[in-house]
Amino acid sequence: MPEAAGWRERFESYGLLWGLLLVVAILSIAPLARLLLEGVAPHGSLSTDAIARVLSSTATWTATRHSLATALGGTIVALAVGGVVALVVSLTDIRARNAFVFCFVLPMMIAPQVIALAWLELFGPASPLLKALGVAQTLGGRNPLYSPQGIVLVLGVQYAPLVFLTLRAGLRTLPSAMIEAGLAAGAGALTVLRTIVLPLMTPPLVAGVALTFVSCLGNFGIPALLGIPGNYLVLPTLIYQRMAGLGPSALAEVSVLSMLIGVIAVVGILLQELMLSRRDFRVSTTSTAARPFELERWRVPVEIALWAWTTLVLFLPLAALVLGSLVPAVGVPLAAKTATLANYQFVMFGHDAARRALFNSFSMSATAAIAIVTVAVPLAYFVVWQRTRLLKFVNFAIEVPYALPGVVLAIAAILLFLKPLPVVGVSLYNTVWIILFCYLGRFLVLGLRPVIGGYYQIDRTLEEASQIAGARLGRRLVTIIVPLIAPAATAGALLIFLTAFNELTVSALLWSSGAETLGVIFFSFQQGGDSTYAAALGTLTVVVTTGLMLSTLLMAGRLPAGVLPWRD
């Protein structure tokens, strides 16, 4: 006799959903709620006194001004470069598109602080490039990148791929008929671009700009390497200096600072929403994506320009980084005779903290990747196939910790875990666990997005067929859904691993002796003047990152389009 919805089915479904929601609440909502509480209820370590002190300090407003200036500047550079490149790659018939996209997106996947060091090496007094050109500076001369302009330039290069990716995704969905109708009406290619393509691409462009602005605002590695030496502080580096100098006693002050930076980020996101809500950009046709315009005699010059750009902003700085890692000591000229691998030996085997950091970063990145995917697969099941209003909110809750600058989450985590946990009495503060906690909350969305994309590609009837065959939810997940979603989940896991592996913003505030990450060790080498060790460590992370990115191309054919940002 058939029973109506047995308790077991209901328990399975609701139990799983509420369990997942609890995980999301702890990872995403709890820290930010704790930070907000600090703002509205000044009974904890915060008082109106601290707010007044921070807001009346000139350092606060100087750093805010610097943050706005570099973030806006970096966004403008990224918009110009990423926008033009996306249009050229999507709408013209350039060759070797895949190779170019890989190289163009690569800087985004490499740690910002490593990119910054590579640029420092390129323009530094020992620069092989500048020496070859005969314009190398004398030792002790000021590196031109230690300036706001340097920060803006490197931020722009690092985040141009963000604009590129959002615009490229938009252009993929632009039906070719939209362009062809313009051509048939007598408009030339440039007129079509100006009057049809760009207006229709406003949503991805605005979204890309907002994303880039928030990313520039929250970036720590680049202003840390390029700004701190010249005492040009932005909000994240100001927070870092306060925490590094005073420890938890500065917590009241940095909470206010991190809320300030959070407010700026939220204003940026809200401006985006406001701009997009005013007009109708919906494209309601079904024809295929745009066909490329033929460049004809301009093709070769355009291709040369693209690869020249790639050489300038990727190959040359990375080459300078590698060369810098082969020098026995800072200042020693590099020659076949002096080149050495001793720096690599030292950072891999000779330095305790570096060895620990290698282990910590590897294991935390891997743990975060696996744990997030394990949560994301069933969570996405509910988000995609059983949409409820509650889940819309969950989607939002997951986006926020990633959208807000990393320092905000780090400070929130410190507030949450400074005191030992209630009941169990264990303290996570000053352990690797607080860093891992932040990784889980911050990168959850990186795993969820590809998995959601994967679900949209699966025909729901596959699951329904197994339901008809009598399989309950748990069994369906394991036997039907997991095998189908595995490629997308793997891609998400890799994305998380790479991001966590190259991360510095969060761990710079949360690390402690024994709980170092690669980013932290890299940064401390660089701060301590051991840039050869930093260069060796940076080169290692670049090799691991690029190698993993390349290895994903092997399974690229089985992935939903757009899951791997570096694959076109």
Partner: protein, 356 residues
């Protein structure tokens, strides 16, 4: 307005021949339908005429000027054509009037002339009050008419229509068909209408070009296409013709002939060049088949299926003499005929497919 000449055009995508030596003449003011199943190359041909793709061999002329040939390619924006896409391709960021005015704006036409022409074009498609609407606020049929107005406002020499009714529901289709026909009568524009729907093509076109596997099979008036298909493919495709083996015994001077169909003598139509001969093929229509008494002369067949279609049955059968062939005919309700029953068929008419 202008005539269109397609002269031995060939286009390949990799190893796939999308267009194979296609030649077609469209007269000034003619309504020409290009008919074929999906993948037959009809849209590829349309894109060649519009200039969105380059051809591999052959020439395309609009009026007297060559617009496509090897080494010469006039870009689409300079061909003075109008096109209505299957998806309509209305720009969502512009209102109806802006969509329609686009071609004029690009050509540098200023107000008040531009506004007048836009108004006239919208009046022509009976959308006078809709100038300020957004495309998203229009129904399917209204969008269709905006697309038509947009393509006509610049008075193109040639209008291309790419399955313009495919996205509309059945009721709307019929009324839009009328609209196209009236529209063509009023403006006298040369129109090329791509479709996979033969009823649509027959209802609208002066002539129909049937395409299959990248090749042009036949270009003829709708009636000629139905009555006198040029080859087996057209015979089977248009009106579900049955292609049957016949021996032509004798040809009369008046375009008819006596043929032997499964040992039964029938009078059929044929071309004036037709010669007597064995192993020819004839196209027979369902309406030419009637069931007669077993004592009358006729072709014996056995029923495979009897499908009720509302008011009548569609009988599917095979000739007893050739079990591999298929016959079909309709009989009115009520009917006691069931699968397995044997029937005798009188064949009233047929067309001898010219050997090519």
């Amino acid at each position: 307005m202008a005539r269109l000449t397609i002269d031995r055009v060939t286009k390949s995508f990799g190893a796939f021949r999308a267009l194979d030596d296609v030649s077609l003449e469209v007269a000034d003011g003619e309504f020409m339908a290009i008919l074929g199943a999906s993948g037959c190359g009809k849209t590829t041909l349309l894109r060649q005429i519009a200039g969105f793709d380059k051809l591999d061999a052959g020439r395309i002329l609009i009026g007297d000027s060559v617009v496509s040939a090897l080494g010469r390619h006039v870009p689409p924006e300079r061909r003075r054509i109008g096109i209505v896409f299957q998806s309509y391709a209305l720009w969502p960021h512009m209102c109806v009037a802006e969509n329609v005015a686009y071609g004029l704006t690009v050509a540098g036409v200023k107000d008040p002339e531009r506004a007048q022409r836009v108004e006239a074009a919208l009046a022509l498609v009976e959308l006078a009050g809709f100038a300020d609407r957004r495309p998203a606020m229009l129904s399917g049929g209204q969008r269709q008419r905006v697309a038509l107005a947009r393509c006509l406002v610049a008075e193109p020499s040639l209008v291309l229509l790419d399955e313009p009714l495919a996205n509309l529901d059945v009721n709307l289709r019929a009324s839009m068909e009328d609209e196209f026909a009236r529209f063509h009568a009023r403006t006298g524009t040369t129109m090329i209408y791509v479709t996979h729907d033969q009823a649509e093509a027959m209802a609208l076109a002066d002539r129909i070009a049937v395409m299959d596997h990248g090749m042009l099979r036949q270009v003829a008036t709708p009636s000629q296409l139905y009555r006198e298909p040029a080859d087996d493919v057209v015979a089977a495709f248009i009106g579900e013709g049955m292609v049957l083996p016949v021996d032509v015994r004798s040809v009369d001077g008046d375009g008819t002939c006596d043929v032997d169909l499964f040992g039964h003598t029938v009078k059929m139509r044929c071309s004036s060049q037709q010669r007597p001969g064995a192993r020819m093929r004839a196209c027979v229509r369902a309406r030419d088949l009637t069931i007669v008494a077993a004592s009358s002369p006729g072709v014996d067949a056995r029923i495979d299926h009897a499908i009720y279609q509302g008011g009548h049955f569609r009988l599917e059968a095979h000739p007893v003499a050739a079990p591999d062939l298929h016959l079909h005919l309709t009989v009115p309700e009520p009917s006691a005929l069931r699968p397995g029953a044997e029937i005798r068929l009188d064949v009233a008419d047929g067309w001898i497919i010219p050997r090519t």
